[in-house]
């Protein structure tokens, strides 16, 4: 029998329906892979009993001929999705032992579609990071290594557990969230497909908030087709999230024709930046050539405010975080500091938050508090919101000329753990992805090729708001032409 853990969702779906194997056999294969993958530290909570129980239910539905799209498909879930009765800490000690009494809308949708949960996946604390090094669970290790070099590399962040688990065949797909690039950058670093939908496409209810106007959940998958299947299951119009868009969820898989004739693809000149590796530039050109060969027209475009997206983001995201994270006060859930004789409630708040939050989170809360404080609000926060209007306007104008935009996902491939100690150096990871969050648009990273030292690199496609169907179809055509088949060599 083929190795069950290497199948795509689309293949497993038809094989399950054809009774080539059962959901229980599939779940057991993945539970074994998860058990054997501790060296990567991708899972922070394993739920094999729940997986077996859900697989039995899936088998019953398959036997009854009532199998929904993800029936029996084993998934890993990022730690910031609230899962009923299963520890959900958003990678933070301040939520120590938190077991939500409710289920997020996204995971509810996935279980309703028949999926099976293997466990929860590590992440940067409150999704603040680009390397998974701020997680309270310790570093996650990328299954990919440089050629002839055993040093541990980052799987990217913040959804580092999600990217590593998928690349190491410890899940058939995983969920992530993307506030500035936290799905697309890890996907690029691990040779996987990562999709950030339009803001409002996927409900945020039950997802532990970082920056509400930027956060959006999406899938990590092996293929673009799987991404379409996952998005269709995750997305919904949700009464519990008043910002979830009142737009019906289309059949994304049906949009995958690969037809690029008459499509116009924009290449933004501002994305040629200093520090971009020669390989990234070469892959970018290769991607454009492939789309041209399939009948698309390649158009140079300008997004003039690109360079301001990252600094504006580092005002807005911390500002929203300082407000969202005010709820962690040691009263209702999670960690509470041990108090000394005579300590009052303010001491409880301050000590609890000092102990519970990690350094990066504290720094961002303090920056957010500062830019929102009296006397600085207009100079920082309002100015950044105006920049956001200009960034969105750049995209609106570009989309009058083109159907999608092609860029590299990151300037360079995965770096070594501990290699980037300067926060600004780390923030630059999101230089090509953060613009998309600022404008609320959908973006997808598709594996494009290997660097000279054998590491995967990604290309990003950016689409129009709520036009995931066309975005996925363009990604499908690109994936087909790039023929990326490489897998990490198993060392763990």
């Amino acid at each position: 029998m083929t190795d069950l853990t290497s199948l795509s969702i689309a293949d497993a779906r038809s094989k399950l329906r054809a009774k080539e194997f059962s959901a229980t056999e599939l779940a057991d294969a993945f539970i074994g892979a998860v058990e054997g993958g501790d060296a990567l530290n991708a899972y922070c909570e394993k739920t094999p009993d729940l997986a077996r129980e859900q697989a039995r239910t899936a088998d019953a539905r398959l036997a009854a001929g009532d199998a929904p799209s993800l029936c029996g498909i084993p998934l890993g879930i990022k730690d910031l999705f609230c899962t009923k009765g299963v520890r959900s800490q958003s990678g933070s000690n301040i939520l120590e032992g938190f077991k939500p009494p409710y289920e997020s809308t996204v995971t509810t949708n996935l279980w309703d579609a028949g999926a099976v949960m293997l466990g929860k996946l590590s992440m940067d604390e409150f999704a603040m990071g680009s390397s998974n090094e701020t997680s309270c669970y310790g570093n996650v290790i990328n299954p990919w290594r440089r050629k002839g070099d055993d040093s541990a590399l980052t799987p990217g962040g913040s959804s580092g557990g999600s990217s590593a688990a998928l690349a190491a065949s410890m899940a058939m797909a995983t969920t992530g969230t993307d506030t500035g690039g936290s799905i697309r950058q890890p996907a690029a670093f691990t040779g996987t497909v990562g999709l950030k939908p339009t803001w409002g496409r996927v409900s945020r209810w039950g997802i532990i908030a970082f920056a509400s106007s930027l956060d959006q959940a999406g899938p990590f998958t092996r293929t673009v087709r799987d991404s379409a299947i996952m998005l269709e299951a995750m997305a919904s119009v949700d009464d519990k999230d008043s910002t979830s868009a009142d737009i019906p969820v289309p059949d994304y898989e049906a949009a995958l024709t690969g037809d690029m004739k008459g499509k116009r693809i924009g290449i933004p000149k501002e994305y040629s930046v200093d520090g971009m590796t020669a390989e990234a530039t070469a892959l970018w050109e290769k991607g454009a050539d492939h789309l041209r060969a399939q009948g698309a027209e390649i158009v140079e475009i300008s997004l003039p405010h690109t360079k301001y997206a990252l600094p504006a983001y580092y005002i807005l995201a911390p500002a929203e975080a300082s407000s969202n994270l005010a709820r962690y006060d040691g009263v209702r859930y999670g960690h509470r500091a041990k108090l000394s004789q005579g300590d009052g409630i303010d001491d409880m708040y301050a000590k609890t938050r000092a102990e519970g939050f990690g350094h990066e989170v504290k720094r961002r809360i303090m920056i957010g508090t500062y830019v929102l404080s009296a006397g600085y609000y207009d100079a920082y926060y309002i100015r950044a919101q105006k920049l956001r209007t200009l960034i969105k306007r750049d995209f609106d104008e570009a989309f009058e000329q083109v159907d999608a935009i092609l860029t590299p996902t990151t300037p360079s491939p995965a770096f070594g753990l501990g290699e980037k100690s300067d926060p600004l150096d780390m923030y630059m990871q999101d230089i090509f992805t953060v613009t998309v969050n600022m404008a609320g648009l959908p973006g997808i990273s598709v594996p494009a090729g290997l660097s000279p030292d054998g590491l995967p690199m990604g290309l990003q496609l950016i689409g129009k708001a709520f036009d995931e169907a066309n975005l996925l179809n363009t990604a499908y055509a690109l994936e087909d032409a790039l023929e990326f088949m490489a897998k990490p060599e198993k060392w763990w």
């Binding site: 009494p101 405010h305 100015r383």
Partner: protein, 95 residues
């Protein structure tokens, strides 16, 4: 340097995060570095530009004003570090 030690102490107090004395100076340096970097936003002419309030233009949804959930006291208290007699418990608050 845009942020000094006194500002760090003030912001830490506003954010309710206890900061040790030896952490103040490094934090001031890091926060200043980041704020100096975002200063480049000042070079953009934003006159006449409206601040963005929503990534996607949408009307806030309305619903019937009816109770849809509730009676979950024990669920709500289940994760509390300290709860007594159906309430969250905190140190004595004296005004």
């Amino acid at each position: 340097m845009s942020v000094d030690a006194a500002t760090v102490r003030k912001v830490a107090k506003l954010a309710r995060i206890a900061v040790e004395e030896d952490e103040i100076e490094p934090l001031a340096n890091e926060i200043s570095g980041i704020l100096d970097w975002v200063e480049q936003l000042q070079e953009v002419d934003v006159s006449g530009v409206e601040p963005m309030t929503s990534a996607v233009p949408m009307r806030l949804k309305r619903r019937e004003d009816v109770v849809t959930d509730g009676d979950r006291r024990d669920d709500i208290l289940a994760n509390a570090p300290d709860s007594r007699e159906g309430f969250f418990a905190v140190p004595k608050v004296v005004e």
